[in-house]
């Protein structure tokens, strides 16, 4: 009965065929959107196994397995305990680039308690179990320092560079925004480590006295999208009220938060008197008012940004180091969008937000460009 219910809630529905004239999308002429799975609870991220199964993280601490449009009744076993509160919980999941050989994946999550918590990154082996999968050889490879109070702004997005090193976004913890400018703190940074947790010798601050050697870039607020394509690291992050950004991340660069921003505090007060400041990088795209970008995918030489507040997906064109927002696409997909990723077969998949989240596949049927 339970299985039948799962099947019923996971039935595939074809929403639409074709694109209305108001679409701004440059890449897509015709496409269809297909609900692959429904009823996911506060889903945050997903990744694709070589056998076609899709792993979906839920912030409460579960990893769901979607197989042929069905959510398996058995979750992935041995998932580490997470601190599930506010924006915290189980966050990103990413297979190692060499997963087919080493069966390794990475998880980010909020670790700790209300009195002290942090963004943590672990590696684990994914092995098949009788009816699902299980994690073995779980290694904590990074925990942000210092621990903070309050369950907000963890970031947690993971990416892997061509040399196998890992990038991890760490939010500013909301109440600790000035730490984004301090090199003795991991808050408000992107860090880079080896897959075993050690620090690469060529990190920008590895020889700076007092600096955390893992820091790759700093001056960030709450990263949500982190994707690497053609050797370039693209990132987006939430501003406060306004000031959402897209950046190209380069090592050692200061991206300005909270000294520069186009946004203001939620109550209307200024975060800072400055929109620019010497030595601080301007964003390539700014969204004021905020769209609340949640994730980002590289697809057909373009970036696709999912958004929570705007409940949209935006297409961004890339021309060298110039990025241009081309506007909203795939308007059939409604609601807050939590995650977007490109599957191995070249389709875009999106996760909606909330307690009845859906995994939706966007299938391209004709390429204009």
């Amino acid at each position: 009965m339970k299985k039948a219910a799962l099947i019923a809630t996971s039935l595939i529905f074809i929403f639409s065929n074709g694109v209305s004239a108001q679409h701004v999308a440059g890449n897509y002429d015709n496409y269809s959107t297909t609900v692959i799975a429904s009823g996911l609870n506060k889903a945050w991220a997903h990744d694709f196994l070589p056998n076609g199964d899709i792993l979906v993280t839920e912030r409460g601490g579960a990893i769901k397995v979607v197989r042929n449009g069905i959510i398996l009744s058995a979750d992935v076993r041995n998932v580490p305990d997470v601190y599930f509160a506010g924006q915290g919980g189980l966050l990103d999941i990413m297979l190692d680039a060499d997963f087919a050989m080493n069966k390794t994946l990475y998880l980010s999550y909020a670790f700790g308690s209300s009195k002290g918590n942090a963004t943590r990154l672990v590696s684990a082996k994914l092995n098949k179990s009788k009816d699902s999968y299980q994690l073995d050889d779980i290694n904590i490879i990074f925990t942000a320092s210092p621990l903070k109070q309050g369950p907000q702004h963890y970031s947690g997005r993971i990416a892997q560079m061509a040399d196998g090193t890992l990038l991890l976004g760490i939010g500013d913890g909301f109440d600790f925004r000035e730490q984004a400018q301090k090199l003795d703190s991991h808050l408000g940074k992107i860090i880079r480590i080896n897959s075993d947790g050690s620090v690469p010798d060529d990190n920008p601050f590895v020889k700076s006295k007092g600096a955390k050697p893992e820091i790759w870039s700093y001056g960030h607020r709450n990263h949500q999208g982190l994707v690497i394509a053609n050797g370039i690291v693209y990132q987006n992050e939430h501003g406060p009220k306004g000031g959402d950004e897209v950046n190209i991340i380069e090592p050692g660069i200061n991206y300005g938060w909270p000294v520069i921003t186009q946004g203001i505090d939620y109550n209307g007060a200024q975060v800072t008197p400055y929109k620019e400041y010497p030595g601080m990088q301007q964003p390539l795209v700014d969204w004021t008012p905020s769209i609340a970008p949640s994730s980002m995918a590289f697809h057909n030489s373009k970036l696709y940004v999912s958004a929570l507040a705007e409940q949209s997906i935006r297409e961004l064109s890339i021309n060298g180091k110039q990025i241009t927002d081309k506007g909203k696409v795939f308007s059939e997909i409604e609601g807050r969008i939590r995650d977007i990723a490109t599957s191995p077969d070249g389709s875009l998949y999106v996760l909606t937000d909330g307690e009845q989240a859906q995994l939706i596949k966007i299938t391209q049927t004709n390429i204009l460009e």
Binding site: G150, D175, R177, T272
Partner: protein, 148 residues
């Protein structure tokens, strides 16, 4: 003027004074935090930001007024039944009501609603602003010996 209207006028005056002080204190706290990470802020920029931040009065005055209504009502009853120095009662009520409200909002939203109150000193400055509001209310209504 009816006693009720006088009390309402005193309440509005107290909420305005507290909110203006709170906004000014919050801005100075935010600027101090920026300067602690070596950001240069001139006196002119400080003054400009302080004035711009008065925009938050549109939200702060109503919230302050509501928490004062609750706090001053409780204190009015306390003063009536316990006695003592009336002004001190309202000063304590103003400080307590404002801090309690900030802490309740923080507990509900899981964020600090006003950045300037993230530090103990910033929170203390809001307690002072609330206390001044309580003093204003007590003084305006003193001759009438009334309370909400």
């Amino acid at each position: 003027m009816p006693k009720f209207m006088q009390n309402v006028g005193a309440l509005i005056a107290a909420a305005f004074v507290t909110s203006i002080l709170g906004s000014i204190f919050s801005t100075q706290s935010v600027i101090a935090s920026l300067m602690s990470i070596n950001v240069d802020i001139s006196l002119a920029t400080r003054l400009s930001m302080t004035v711009n931040d008065l925009y938050i009065l549109t939200a702060l005055v109503p919230v302050t007024a509501i928490c004062f209504i609750i706090g001053f009502t409780v204190v009015g009853l306390g003063y009536r039944f316990v006695g003592g120095n009336r002004t001190v009662w309202y000063v304590i009520a103003g400080a307590t009501a404002l801090i309690s409200t900030l802490l309740i909002i923080k507990a509900m939203l899981l964020i600090t609603p006003i950045a300037g109150t993230r530090t103990p000193l910033g929170l203390l400055s809001f307690a002072f602003a609330g206390a001044v509001g309580g003093w204003v209310y007590a003084k305006i209504t003193a001759s009438k010996e009334t309370e909400l």
